[in-house]
Symmetry: C2
């Protein structure tokens, strides 16, 4: 890692000249919100947090940092789960929160142009009002920023039918660490004019450039939705049944999986009974479309397949209220599991049909260490959030055994054709494990690509690549 | 450009050791097929053409060329339209035609693993037999190879609904110029574990690495299709009506545009009458889905919108035979226009709604030079194949004025938010124009990325980047 400089008063004055005193924060109280994200209990204070409002300001700040060898960490909504926005080397946190304009919703071309500081749900809601749809739906939608979604290639439950962030990004404006601004792509459904820098930046976790404008493809909003909750007496039955649904050529708009321990955790936390909490596993399925009669037929077919697959019951929520209730249950389960401390969440992803094998491996590996694992997540796309809970073992064993156990788990994930992060990113906390998923050749290429974009290594240092 | 070495007998012997005498071709007659593609009349002979069958063989050949500073040009089906597969510096042509296995069609995960030498239509037909679907459908489908589709990020008429090659590529195995083999991605719908090397390789025109295995997402085949041919008395009416169809939230599975001059060219060539050849422009629309009653309703709605938009007629082809006839007409038009020599085809792409403006600009610019332009193509995704025909001007004017005229045309395309190639690539013949579409910063990043993958510049030299 390069030797970075510390920030002095002259540097602060230059920052203030660029964006004004008000948006250059150095008081401990003011910078506290920029010292952590949603990743466990990690805290790293920046020396200064800055809040520019334009691409030109972002460019000037980056150039200043670059010229002075000051580390600079871009930040969206601070909802990350891999520590990507933590200023681990101090320096500047560059918050994109004030680049928050929805610049254009272009219904002729079905594209939207936005700034990275727009909150994901604000964008979704604005589109919905117009009968439009942006399907990427991270759990943190009400506080995460679209720029952060680009950085982490966010997914969520609808990825199974609608894909992830990368599938909607058609153009970017971005600033290189040395301050140069460039645009790539555009409102173009076809484009083979040079290397795809747009897709290289999506999922690069703010280590290559700072995105200041995004062109998203948008869709028409499906008019109807049905949500189904289906309990099973074994995880394997749930997973096999899900495969059968896909084989029947039905692609649900969401297919979530929740194992019993997760439901029980929610019952404990919220002190109330959750539906079907005696079942080994639940599938939460959603289908959508424009024709209610087709949804009815699909729901019926799904019901038949589930019952043939030994489902205990098939509960269909056909009103928006009942649907919201089911999704609320799903969210509460996530919340409840996360509240059991100490815990660590892994964002494993495997080919969809390997899901039962993955959950089985998780159980085997954690059991060896007397550690509890609670799994739930996006079964439709093979992305399981595996929550590792300390429970009864000593602090010493937890500290000593956890890294090896995670390495062992990731090794099995890779053997199943999977990888170590589906949507949370590598950031700070997973980078030690990246060599499990990637070959030395891939890592070498990535390190060299990083060097092309950021030869001094000032942009989001200490992240992604070891 | 690096000083390359010439191939000598020792080098040929080493090649023969790797893949056997039979697959190392040096006779002029044998290598003639590798001296051209479908780009105008360009001919460049390689010194040798090799036909490996495995990734290991590809790796050994690349390493040998790299170590000996011999240029090496990968080649798919030789159907390219930008000269990407032409060995402009001589050396080795590396044909991927014998890596032609469909390795796996995995219906549990809805992914297929194939080698790059599989003919696109062979893959499509194999899937179709199983009720499956790979929607990317380049006009050369019966002779182009999937590896070439990766190189050029191929599209075709269905991109408007189904996207292009990049939207289906989830994993790659590839060989670097120095012989190192790596895999990226996999059967994973979500993946944020390092930079997206997969997407960086798609559309890189064989300049970064040689792809030897591809993991494609596949779909269920829509059960029903309807095709409609709609004549208009003005191009503007056709384009405006198409926008209205999208605004009605109908996404056709294809939306082709043909201007009158193209139909007339087909009538001349094939000496027969084509339907609606007196109309200024035709739209050829296709809709698909699983429910015939919905298609009926959509077709009816499209018909209403078209008539409201001053369509002359609305012809619906609801039987497979009639549909095939319409598509045959579309293909014949392409063929007919291409047969008018000398001509040059440009693969312009703009945001869909800018189509009328683009066609207008094409007419203005070519008229100034007394050159004829005939346009047709994929209106649904803004990708218009603009065919520039010499006709009555002198050879001297044609030679002198063509490059400037193309530059002027591309400048206008970029002003409309477009770019210079939608699906044919930059290759050899468009690289002089690339700085019109890309900034110096983008070009600088791309040149450096090229250097990361190919520090000696031996892989497909003289292509894409100036």
């Amino acid at each position: 890692m390069a030797d970075f400089n510390k920030i002095n008063q002259d540097f602060l004055n230059l920052l203030k000249q660029i964006i004004g005193d008000k948006y250059v924060l150095t008081d401990k109280f003011d910078i506290e919100p920029y010292s952590h994200d949603e990743t466990e209990d990690l805290v790293y204070y920046p020396e200064v947090a800055v809040k520019p409002q334009t691409t030109d300001e972002v460019s000037a700040i980056l150039k200043l940092c670059y010229d002075n060898n000051i580390p600079i960490t871009p930040r969206g909504g601070g909802t990350g789960l891999s520590g990507g926005a933590l200023p681990v080397h101090g320096g500047v946190v560059l918050s994109l929160e004030r680049l928050n304009r929805i610049i254009e919703i272009d219904t002729d071309n079905m594209m939207a142009v936005v700034e990275p500081g727009v909150i994901t749900s604000v964008f979704q809601d604005k589109l919905e009002e117009m009968g439009l749809f942006y399907p990427v739906d991270p759990a943190s939608r009400e506080s995460c920023l679209l720029g952060g979604n680009i950085a982490e290639n966010s997914g969520g439950p609808r990825a199974v039918k609608y894909g992830v962030t990368k599938d909607y990004v058609y153009g970017l404006k971005a600033v290189l660490p040395d301050g140069r601004v460039f645009s790539s792509g555009g409102k173009l459904l076809k484009n083979v004019s040079g290397y795809n820098l747009t897709q290289l930046l999506v999922g690069s976790e703010g280590t290559l450039a700072v995105v200041t404008e995004i062109t998203f493809k948008i869709l028409a909003k499906p008019k109807h939705r049905q949500t189904m909750l289906i309990p099973f007496n074994s995880l394997n039955a749930a997973a096999t049944t899900l495969t059968e649904i896909f084989k029947a050529r039905i692609v649900p708009s969401a297919a979530e999986f929740i194992e019993q321990a997760a439901i029980k955790a929610a019952e404990d936390k919220f002190e109330r009974k959750f539906p079907y909490s005696d079942s080994a596993a639940l599938l939460l399925l959603e289908i959508d479309g424009n024709y209610p009669e087709i949804l009815e037929a699909q729901a019926e077919r799904i019901g038949e397949i589930c019952l043939a697959g030994n489902a205990v019951d098939v509960f269909v929520a056909d009103s928006p209220d009942k649907q919201a209730e089911l999704w609320d249950t799903r969210r509460k389960i996530g919340e409840a599991v996360k509240s059991i401390a100490p815990y660590k969440e892994e964002d494993t992803v495997v080919p969809r049909a390997q899901l039962p094998a993955l959950v089985e491996k998780i159980k085997q590996i954690t059991a060896k260490h007397d550690i509890t694992a609670i799994s739930y997540g996006h079964a439709g796309d093979g992305n399981i959030h595996c929550n590792i809970i300390k429970k009864d073992i000593t602090d010493e064993r937890w500290e000593n055994e956890l890294p090896d156990m995670i390495a062992e788990l990731f090794t099995e994930v890779v053997k199943l054709g999977g990888t170590i992060s589906g949507e949370h990113g590598i950031g700070l906390v997973q980078k030690r494990y990246l060599p499990i998923a990637l070959s030395e050749t891939e890592l070498d290429l990535m390190r060299q690509i990083k060097h092309v974009f950021d030869p001094k290594g000032v942009l989001n240092p200490g992240k992604l690549l070891v």
